[in-house]
């Protein structure tokens, strides 16, 4: 099983973690100003690169804290 490094608990088994998708997706600063297209983009559209991807993970069965990790989606290898 793949080990994932939690910044607080160290390397733990993958089953302890919950995947949170793309990192750095900020809530719209001025939601009322958004067009339908903007809302669709915010709600539904995420990057889907083949290769390096910054993403959110939660150590759900451990300290339950969220962190950002960089992983390669082709090799599944974490950068750190």
């Amino acid at each position: 099983m793949q080990l994932i490094r939690c910044p607080w608990c160290g390397p733990r088994e993958e089953v302890e973690f919950h995947y949170g998708g793309q990192a750095g997706v900020a809530y719209p600063a001025d939601p009322a100003a958004l067009s339908d297209e903007d809302w669709a983009r915010y709600v539904f559209v995420r990057d889907n690169p083949k290769g390096r991807f910054e993403e959110r993970w939660s150590h759900a069965a451990g300290c339950r804290r969220w962190f950002t990790a960089v992983r390669d989606t082709a090799t599944y290898r974490f950068e750190r």
Binding site: Y19, D36, A40, T73
Partner: protein, 405 residues
């Protein structure tokens, strides 16, 4: 050594050099791309067509699915396209003049709780209103159809009943691909393997050429049929679509005597299983949670899947796992495909079939060929346009089909 080997059997298609220009370029030589090519020639007489495949024909998800075919979807939009496909499956062997081992052995979709039962009965009614064969069966009737299912109330998720679609079935996926490929090739369509698309030449709102590892190819129209790699192509075009690529695994047991007469699916415990013609039990697992392009998944997904399967089918406990593999599925937010126009006037999108694209193969091919021939979405495809994520007209099959297709 080589002289001791028998002659290579006849090839089913040519291996042509790409021409400089085609009326239609289909990117992706899987089931959908090949079916679209077949129907372009057969229904519309359009044969100046190339199918570009970065690997070998039908070596992606077309070779990796669990070959289930059914049309018992909840919503009218889904029912229309999947039932159209099922009706084509029923005549496909004759159409292609090639055996595909289509076996209509029926599918049971199990219900394990009260809400499951309510949803299932609702889906049966919806199917009937759409002219699709569907029945609700109690646990005893489930056991009669498939005696190896554990219908006792002593298991973690007891079987409260099932929906049943008798016309559902399985087909041999490789033969399906080869049948479509052979037919398209015979009509003069070029199937070009080992040809990866690396870019597009654009002129305003049109794509005029496709850059590939085997040179640039000019095109009248482009159809993107690249499944899990669609986002990679769209990134080259600067188009964003709500797709996430995930690994999806499946597995087979060793060859066994016939023990499993039908198809059984359970969305709640994530089991879907049938027995292939040769005798392997074919099972699908769930997707890995993270995005992935690796054509492999984590073992704990298989382990969880096996635990559920053994509880539902105690007889499986002594079967040996023969092999597991993975494909890459492109999943959309509403679990329905995205097909139709893109911001480029002559580029058509066909993606987002997620975990369930195989069953749609002939239906999609028929409708996408019609879409290309008339430069407008076929009526069965119109509801699946990319702009539904802006209008909000989603086709939410999560509740109906859940993640297992």
């Amino acid at each position: 050594m080589a002289e001791q080997l028998p002659e290579h059997p006849d090839f089913l298609w040519r291996t042509p050099e790409p021409k400089r220009s085609y009326d239609v370029v289909i990117v992706g030589g899987g089931g959908h791309g090949l079916a679209t090519a077949h129907y372009l020639a057969k229904n519309h007489g359009i044969t100046n067509v190339a199918v570009l495949e970065k690997g070998w024909l039908a070596g992606g998800n077309m070779a990796r699915n669990t070959t289930l075919i059914r049309s018992n979807y909840l919503w009218d939009e889904s029912a229309a396209i999947y039932e159209h496909a099922l009706q084509l499956w029923e005549g496909l062997e004759e159409d292609l003049g090639y055996p595909i081992l289509f076996s209509q052995r029926g599918v049971l979709n199990l219900a394990h709780g009260e809400q499951d039962v309510r949803d299932s009965v609702r889906r049966v009614q919806a199917n009937r209103l759409n002219g699709i064969d569907a029945e609700w069966l109690g646990p005893d009737e489930v056991a009669k159809l498939c005696p190896i299912v554990n219908v006792s109330d002593q298991i973690r998720y007891p079987v409260h009943g099932a929906t049943y679609q008798p016309r559902a079935g399985i087909a041999k996926h490789d033969y399906v691909a080869w049948g479509f490929a052979r037919s398209a090739d015979a009509a003069g369509i070029d199937l070009i393997q080992d040809c990866e698309v690396t870019g597009f030449r654009t002129d305003g709102d049109r794509v005029t050429g496709v850059r590939t590892t085997r040179g640039e190819i000019a095109c009248g129209q482009v159809a993107l049929c690249a499944a899990g790699h669609t986002s990679v192509l769209l990134d080259l075009l600067g188009v964003r679509a709500p797709l996430q690529s995930h690994p999806l695994q499946a597995l087979v047991s060793e060859l066994l005597e016939p023990v499993h007469p039908t198809i059984v699916m359970s969305n709640a415990v994530h089991v879907y299983v049938s027995q292939a013609h040769k005798g392997e039990l074919v099972m699908g697992a769930g997707v890995d949670a993270y995005n992935g392009y690796g054509q492999r998944g984590a073992f704990h997904i298989i382990e969880r899947q096996m635990a559920a399967a053994v509880e539902l089918f105690p007889v499986f406990a002594r079967a040996h796992l023969l092999r597991t593999w993975g494909g890459i599925v492109d999943v959309t937010p509403d679990a329905s495909p995205i097909v139709g126009h893109t911001p480029y006037a002559n580029v058509y999108l066909n993606c987002g079939w997620g975990t369930g694209g195989f069953k749609a193969t002939p239906g999609l091919g028929w409708c996408l060929a019609d879409t290309l021939a008339h430069a407008r979405p076929h009526p069965f495809l119109a509801p699946f346009a990319l702009d539904r994520f802006v209008t909000g007209a989603l086709v939410d099959e999560h509740g109906a089909a859940a993640v297992a297709h």
